[in-house]
């Protein structure tokens, strides 16, 4: 349920402050900012920010720092785990990875 997709705010017009254009890959779509606020905490435009889009609304601001941490942890883990992975490949479970 509830398809939500990360998108970057690329255009905003202060005459219609509750609306902004976001990019999802190469697709561009107007979304409503009411649920996250037209401006950020410092009162600046949100252009450049990443948001989660659902049914034409920006629903949440993506937290870059949070994301970096998680990804860094996962990368670290994947380096550590390369042995395990190799083992799994050779040991031949019901599944494998190319």
């Amino acid at each position: 349920m509830c398809i939500g997709i990360p998108a970057q705010i690329i255009q905003w017009d202060k005459c219609q402050p509750h609306l902004a254009n976001v990019a999802v890959g190469g697709a561009v779509r107007e979304v409503d900012l009411s649920l996250i606020g037209a401006l950020d905490e410092q009162g600046h435009s949100r252009v450049g920010q990443w948001v989660l889009v659902h049914v034409g609304f920006a629903m949440s601001i993506l937290d870059e720092q949070e994301a970096q941490q998680t990804l860094a942890a996962l990368q670290a883990m994947s380096e550590v785990e390369s042995d395990v992975a190799a083992f799994l490949k050779v040991g031949g479970g019901a599944h494998a990875l190319d």
Partner: protein, 338 residues
């Protein structure tokens, strides 16, 4: 006021129809076949027969909404679509018919734009539009304009392309990004407002096919229109009794189409194309085919997406190595949102 739109009078066989045919169709398509004004075009059969021993004939009706869209219009589409169905048989498109079903109220200016677009597309491909027909139906009995084109051409004697040639271990090649046409149309028709990067790939494919005529080892080709590449692969699998295995990570998709597919829960494999071929070729010829394709702007993103195997159906291998059957959807895909 009432003279700048299509009315029943334009389809009644009376004076208004004669005028429309002369002013719009004959004017834009102008050629000696059409100018004769007989009930049938009379084509040089002896000359056709000198080019080969098989006449290719194909028909398609075009019913697209919107009728003018990013990357083309129904007129361009109607010429390209039928020309491409000839091209994929190895036949240079020679002659086309053009049959119009017009809804009462269609602006004559729109019709003129569309017919001019057909004429320009045909001219570019050196195709003659040799006979036609015009019908008018009441408001709400058609959707603005439907165009049927039927085409003929002579199959190049050196080619024997057909689904019966498909063999295990053949390479599966697509000539470029998937789903451009379907994505552009869905965006405009459903008012999705997904920007101007979604552009139909509608194009004449003969220039891409012609260099392939001389390459040995090509088994069959098909333009991946309605139903997308998925539908073509299923046709190949059913006709050949073999398996079509493709790699998800090898599928070329442009960024805008990918964005749309993520937003709406769609799969580019199921979206229509109007300028892409799926080619089945022997593994040995794959490199030559790719070289020939990539030498042409229409084929610059061509790549091998999979191989034919001795199983059955269509299988797709995902990013993590899991292979699954790819079902042919029973329905046209609808957006998934909530």
């Amino acid at each position: 006021m009432s003279n700048d739109v299509i009315t029943f009078a334009h389809g009644s066989g009376g004076r208004a129809m004669q005028q429309l045919i002369q002013d719009t169709l004959v004017r834009h398509f102008d050629n000696p076949f059409l100018r004769r004004g007989e009930d049938q075009a009379r084509l040089p059969l002896t000359q056709l027969a000198s080019q080969g021993s098989q006449l290719a004939m194909t028909t398609d009706s075009f019913v697209i909404d919107p009728i003018i869209f990013a990357g083309g219009d129904i007129g361009k589409l109607a010429v390209c679509g039928t020309a491409n169905d000839l091209a994929v048989g190895g036949a240079r498109p020679e002659y086309l018919t053009c049959s119009l079903i017009l809804e009462e109220g269609l602006p004559l200016a729109t019709l003129d734009t569309i017919i001019a677009s057909m004429a320009a597309t045909a001219q570019q491909a050196k195709i003659e539009i040799v006979t036609g027909d015009t019908k008018v139906v009441g408001h709400g009995c058609a959707d603005k304009i439907f165009i049927n084109t039927t085409g003929i051409g002579v199959i190049s004697p050196e080619v024997h392309w057909g689904m019966d040639q498909i063999a295990a271990d053949d390479a599966i090649i697509v000539t470029g990004n998937l789903g451009d046409h379907g994505a552009a149309i869905l965006n405009e028709r459903e008012n999705l407002g997904l920007g101007d990067q979604l552009v139909s790939d509608c194009a004449l494919l003969w220039p891409l096919v012609e260099p392939l005529l001389s390459i040995r080892g090509i088994h069959t080709l098909r333009d991946a229109t309605r139903g997308g590449v998925n539908a073509i692969l299923h046709e190949f699998a059913t006709a050949s009794g073999l398996g079509m295995q493709i790699n998800e990570h090898a599928l070329p998709v442009n960024d805008a189409v990918r964005g749309m597919c993520e937003l709406l829960g769609l799969d580019p494999l199921n979206l229509a194309n109007e300028g892409k071929l799926v080619i089945i070729t022997s593994a040995q010829s794959a490199a030559a085919v790719l070289n020939a394709l990539q030498a042409h702007p229409l084929g610059k993103d061509a790549r091998q997406i999979g191989t034919v195997n001795s199983q059955s159906g269509v299988q797709i291998c995902g990013a993590y190595g899991v292979t699954r059957h790819l079902d042919l959807p029973y329905f046209e895909p609808l957006p998934r949102i909530c």
